[in-house]
Symmetry: none
Subunit: 221 residues, 2 copies
DNA sequence: CTTTTTTATTTGGTATGCCAAATATTTAGA
DNA sequence: TCTAAATATTTGGCATACCAAATAAAAAAG
């Protein structure tokens, strides 16, 4: 039996998709290595393999890009990930900040129909518990018109939609502060000195660092 | 990320447990190799590794046996497998004969609480869709001294232990009637005509069809 | 334009889990 | 008991997916 060769491959594609979205300069091996916590030599090997499989391509400037095929594969993995997250939160009563790692395992399970059945069972959810949109069965994703909290305007009202960072530490922090998708906030004060902001939600007012604000996506209300 | 080393190991333990149950003479490498469709040399290697890990032991006659530790691990894997099968059939509407391979993948997923949450979500099923009993969280398979409610005796007191049918419709029905494990009941009346029964629980009295009674397991109080 | 730093690549190595084929050992049949 | 068949074991190899360390090449800085 082949040893779940899709796991590694899918993780690479998913990470590359996410890095591409961030549009940080040109995407290189080291960025991928950092994101996956791997050695650059390892990444190089895999990138070559994925190029051979027509899932990645190298542009003239040597930056790494997903092909259409690779992008679709990445999006279908993301789809599975997000649907499982919905399952874990809505059905198994996990907290929204606890499910990432578990979904990371479940996303690689492949079986005829599984994802679509899961989607049906969950009632065709459009967003996962972190507020991120769930790609459809063709890998199409609804682009939501969110902005980073760090670029919010003083005095305006917003609704929290989703988060850029999915690490445990960040999600724990958010859950401690009771910040979650759907939270309605008002920007009370912007501090130029350290780019931190003061925010009002209901009667609770709190201050967020720039680092945090960069990782929270909001929409104007 | 560790490379899911538990997959192989768990498959060996599970298969060995099942072969042991069949009590075919003494269990040897070739039997395991056949069951897993592997080369005997491969099995030998793994058996040695599992002996080193105190999951298997070799008896004087060189037959392969699970240790207590190994047996427990096997049973917990079987538990996960069977619970996922229930999920796939009852929630995702797969047919009972379609789910084995998929459950084979799901059973290896490990996360704090996952199995117990799944069990709760599924309504503490006692049998999987194939009619096999599901081990509890300690790896114990209930050698049940329960009887079906349909064979209860008039006037006696019982406690509801489990259910044979774990389908949504049945579980919904039970929850409407507020019947769940732990409920104490008294048999008020047996109707010979249709084999239905009248039951008293606290101050609430209700009638259950034979079909329902066949699917409820009870113990004398 | 040269030096330094960063990035890419090569090389040799690891672990897991698998294989086929050769050899040794055990068991059982005659 | 001797031999044939079954089983166990050894040996050398393969693929995947990783690594560290050395080297080469490219990019940035001076």
């Amino acid at each position: 039996m082949s040893h779940f060769p899709n796991h590694s491959e899918e993780n690479y594609l998913k990470v590359i998709f996410k890095l591409q979205q961030k549009k940080l300069r040109k995407l290189n091996n080291i960025a991928i290595a950092n994101a996956l916590d791997l050695n650059p030599a390892t990444v190089l090997e895999m990138v070559r393999k994925l190029v051979k499989k027509n899932l990645l391509e190298l542009k003239e400037d040597k930056s790494i890009q997903l092909t259409e095929k690779g992008k679709k594969k990445a999006l279908l993995t993301i789809r599975r990930h997000r649907l499982w997250e919905v399952f874990l939160v809505n059905k198994l009563q996990y907290k929204w900040n606890e499910v990432h790692d578990l979904a990371e395992q479940l996303e690689h399970i492949e079986a005829k129909d599984l994802t679509d059945r899961l989607e049906t069972f969950l009632g065709h959810p459009v967003y996962d518990p972190h507020g991120d949109p769930i790609p459809d069965k063709n890998g199409k994703i609804k682009a939501h018109e969110t902005i980073a909290l760090s670029s919010a305007i003083k005095g305006k009202h917003y609704i929290v939609k989703s988060f850029a960072d999915t690490s445990d530490v960040f999600l724990d922090y958010l859950s401690q502060q009771e910040i979650k998708p759907g939270l309605k906030i008002k920007i009370v004060q912007l501090h130029e000195f350290d780019q931190s902001l003061e925010i009002l939600s209901g009667k609770k007012q709190f201050q967020l660092s720039q680092k945090v604000a960069l990782n929270i996506f909001i929409q104007p209300l």
